[in-house]
């Protein structure tokens, strides 16, 4: 069974540029999460979906970050006008509802110069 797939694996931007990260969850998982993991810190939840609906985006910086999951399968996280403080690894995870276990992708490592 294929795991969670993320792309690109790496991105390097200048401040002010935009970037999109893409996630393909495990087939059949209806819950999808985006976490931000700064270097040497734990993952911090940005947003999560159940099917195509946003369940919680309270930690998503809404002025520059957006996330969609239009068909309840793949998802895109977009950062507009990136800042140096956005430098981090962006992790996507998926799960069945109410099972508790999250399955993570390998992450997309963003460096903003």
């Amino acid at each position: 069974e294929a795991g969670v797939t993320q792309s690109p694996r790496y991105a390097v931007l200048q401040e002010g540029q935009a970037v999109s990260f893409w996630c393909d969850p495990i087939s059949g998982h209806d819950t999808l999460y985006w976490y931000q993991q700064p270097r040497d810190q734990g993952p911090q939840l940005l947003v999560y979906f159940r099917d195509e609906a946003v369940i919680d985006n309270s930690q998503l910086p809404s002025d520059r970050f957006s996330a969609v999951r239009p068909k309840g399968t793949n998802s895109t996280l977009k950062i507009q006008s990136a800042k140096q403080g956005d430098t981090a690894t962006y992790l996507c995870a998926s799960s069945f509802p109410n099972t508790g276990q999250l399955y993570f992708g390998e992450g997309s490592k963003l460096t903003v110069l």
């Binding site: 040497d40 734990g42 999560y48 919680d56 276990q101 999250l102 992708g105």
Partner: protein
């Protein structure tokens, strides 16, 4: 603010030794999970222990949960070099969100 946190920043042991990582949390939880993250990879779940459980095992791993002191521990016996990783505890409360601690880096030396 972090709802869960590991109590040690880094640990180092030699292969074959046992090690324990501790975690404390601050709110009521429905479950606590332990994850391991190897360099360049995403976290992988090791053990999930629900709030009505006191202990859970998975091979060489043993997790305990004490809801009265709001703490948990993860013990690894007979450590191997491949156990070298960052270990996170993560808690889920009634909001349904899984919140991770800062992590403990474990180095297992040959």
């Amino acid at each position: 603010s972090q709802l869960a946190e590991e109590n040690s920043w880094a640990l180092s042991v030699h292969e074959g030794e046992s090690v324990t990582v501790n975690c404390s949390y601050k709110t009521s939880i429905t479950a606590l999970q332990w994850y391991r993250q190897k360099s360049g990879k995403g976290p992988a779940q090791l053990i999930l222990i629900r709030s009505n459980e006191r202990e859970k095992r998975n091979g060489r791993l043993r997790a305990t949960l004490d809801t009265s002191s709001q703490s948990s521990s993860l013990s690894i016996t007979a450590t191997r070099c491949e156990d070298t990783a960052v270990y996170f505890c993560a808690t889920k409360g009634n909001t349904g969100k899984l919140i991770f601690g800062l992590g403990t880096t474990l180095q297992v030396q040959p």
